[in-house]
Symmetry: C2
Subunit: 271 residues, 2 copies
């Protein structure tokens, strides 16, 4: 089974393209959760149980755990998802990027220590920095292409011979990195025009699209530009818009409503 | 005190440009160390005590700790250096790179959780992904420019308007990122020609130069191309060549000899 097969199963499971970002910040938690031991895991668990029915994937963002020394709770979170929702995809969003011998250790971290299904990586160091991830055939390697932030243009838009750096990343993904059918690209929801260009270069590569909600990306524009010919091919991430929709005792219920709403909104535009 | 002041103190302390890379891999440790509890920290401690006299800096490489869940020993290692060798610089080599709100958490991780003096970062996401690090005035932000690996060329050498991506990174470092005098650049020892070009663009920016030893970089060529007008401006890193020079009971003594030799070799070429 290739990673793409696994991803297809995840999309079909709940008929959803929604990826729920798990970016825990204790100060944003409801008061009754903040008081608990292991409160990051407890918060995540309730969010996961509330939203899983409307999602294809969960994406824990590494910095939110690393900043506060909560690696154990990151591990518990991933294990909880894999045990209870085995058809969904867990993306470790850690944007790794280093020379080959070190990349090998990051692949070990992502896929063996944490047992994530996929990991985000940075292409700046080129192919030999990606290979140690790509060699895990049943795991996904999600390469930054055109990111969602304002300064994305600084280097990603540098244009040589009529082609931007991000377009070159997409071309390499198609022509040289996808030998195990496990490459995805990150493209910010805030740039639907660029998303459309990249879809033309890489018609069959799935995209992870962050930037909906708090960052201002528009769902309809993303779908119009990014869907593949099967009206699929996207993992649309929302983090803050779902998990912090309420900071009251009803936070999980409200997160569930927001996930349901976004999943349905996406499906409405797909059809 | 700016970070550059701190770095000058570190260079002068032992009259050394040598940075010792702490890339622990338990299978490469001497047998008697492998048996110890907390063996990564125990290994590092002996290496640190043996080599500190010939170094300006230590650089723990994050993946080597993250792959095996040894964040606590990474923290102990950094605390040990800062307590016992307070004039030397600790570089956390974790090559972070993410959007601003997340970069802020990585800066917190690097400078508050681990209390590193400097951290390596990836420029692919542009200026707003670097600012949260740069804003820590007394901490160093070490930006990847031209890396030491073979595939470095894939994206770093893309040339627009007569200028490569890595040259543009160096220009931005000079013109727009260095508002707190705390920017450094990473340039691989394996590419002395590129190193020379970058020194011309950024005459006053310190460079972290990995790739000596195991990766094949030549010390003399690096110094010729990379020294600044004060015959300084470089942190020349060696990891495997020092810490795994012996895997016998004499490993710390042999590491000490190798560090001494490399420090002296560098100084010989400087004068």
């Amino acid at each position: 089974m290739t990673f793409y097969d696994k991803l297809n199963t995840a999309w079909q499971k709940n008929n959803s393209l929604l990826c729920v970002g798990l970016d825990p910040e204790v100060s944003k938690f409801p008061k009754h959760i903040q008081k608990l031991d292991n409160c990051i895991f407890e918060f995540n668990k309730q969010i996961i149980d509330a939203t899983a029915e409307f999602a294809c994937s969960f994406k824990p963002q590494f910095a939110h755990y690393a900043a506060v020394g909560a690696e154990d709770q990151l591990q518990q979170t991933i294990a909880y998802i894999k045990k209870n929702y085995p058809d969904l995809i867990v993306i470790l969003d850690s944007k790794r990027g280093d020379i080959g011998s070190t990349a090998k250790m990051y692949a070990q971290e992502s896929f063996e220590r944490y047992s994530a299904d996929a990991v985000t990586v940075n292409p700046y160091l080129g192919k030999d920095s990606l290979d140690p991830f790509l060699e895990y055939k049943d795991k996904g390697t999600i390469v930054l292409c055109r990111t969602s932030n304002a300064s994305a243009k600084d280097f990603q838009d540098i244009k040589a011979d009529g082609k931007t750096v991000y377009e070159k990343v997409a071309e390499e993904a198609v022509s040289s990195w996808n030998y195990n059918q496990n490459v995805l690209l990150v493209i910010g929801a805030t740039y639907p025009e660029e998303l459309g260009k990249i879809r033309k270069i890489a018609p069959q590569i799935p995209f992870l699209v962050p930037g909906i909600g708090a960052q201002g990306g528009d769902v309809q524009a993303v779908l119009k530009a990014g869907l593949d010919t099967n009206k699929c091919g996207l993992l649309i991430n929302s983090s803050r818009g779902i998990i912090y929709a309420s900071n009251g005792e009803d936070f999980a219920d409200v997160a569930r409503s927001e996930a349901k709403k976004l999943c349905e909104q996406i499906n409405q535009f797909r059809n």
